[in-house]
Symmetry: C2
């Protein structure tokens, strides 16, 4: 097994990130992995890089042939008036490569994100998870997340 | 009845916003409304104003004696790789003054936020709502929100 390291994403990771987002039961219908990538991905990557409140974390596996993206998550620090003006952290777009599941990588990525959220003064980390992903719920509950809220979505398209 | 207008928040609104956040069954324990306000609120207000992705909406009632904040909501545009790189909008910190409930003000505030989210290219507006607020769920469902996700929270304090 080669080492997996966690770091913030670089331009060269985008192709691997989108491949990972598309290789998912729900992502399959939503994403479009092609070479070259549809323009929207590059624009979003640049917008995330330009936002001081957003961080894109990748887990990359190092092999002799190069690096492979095997995990991704996005951390957003939301400045907030509630709770006496303390920011909250939100996590979106979590994916772990199929072959890396149940090996502790997701928990490692979350520890990284939680540490970063604490450093930013956040009192809370929050996320929503599709009710069709029961495995994900169990994973988050093991990390200490409580399903105290309804996650409500309004599609605009 | 005096006219209620919607606009982005200004410095002079902060006192009224915090009064509103504190006048709420759940907010009562979390907030601290005092004159002068605890420093955290001013710092958060400045952070929101400085963030190009965040907008604080207020509903103010105009009377001869001045303006009164009767509604507040925060809209965050989150740049995102998922859904082929389209941003999503998030709404937090929604409060409507008790005396203005069930009079359509909340729906007006949401229409304002949804219009703004569309202009920013968002494909979705999302929020989480405490499971102890059943009235809020009904309100969001009437606006078209679907409770498709679990809203999970991890407290860091």
């Amino acid at each position: 097994m080669s080492a997996i390291i966690l770091r913030t994403a670089r331009d060269g990771d985008l192709q691997g990130i989108v491949r990972l987002l598309a290789d998912d039961p729900l992502g399959r219908d939503r994403e479009r992995y092609a070479v070259p990538l549809p323009d929207g991905y590059g624009q979003a990557f640049a917008a995330i890089a330009a936002s001081p409140n957003d961080t894109l974390l990748v887990a990359v596996q190092r092999a002799r042939t190069g690096e492979k993206v095997v995990g991704v998550l996005q951390l957003t620090v939301i400045p907030s008036l509630t709770y006496q003006g303390r920011p909250r952290a939100q996590i979106e777009g979590v994916r772990v490569a199929t072959e890396q599941r149940n090996a502790g990588l997701g928990a490692r990525m979350f520890r990284w994100a939680i540490t970063r959220a604490k450093k930013a003064g956040c009192h809370m980390v929050q996320l929503t998870t599709d009710k069709r992903r029961p495995d994900a719920h169990r994973f988050y509950e093991k990390l200490g997340f409580a399903p105290s809220h309804e996650g409500m979505k309004l599609r605009l398209d």
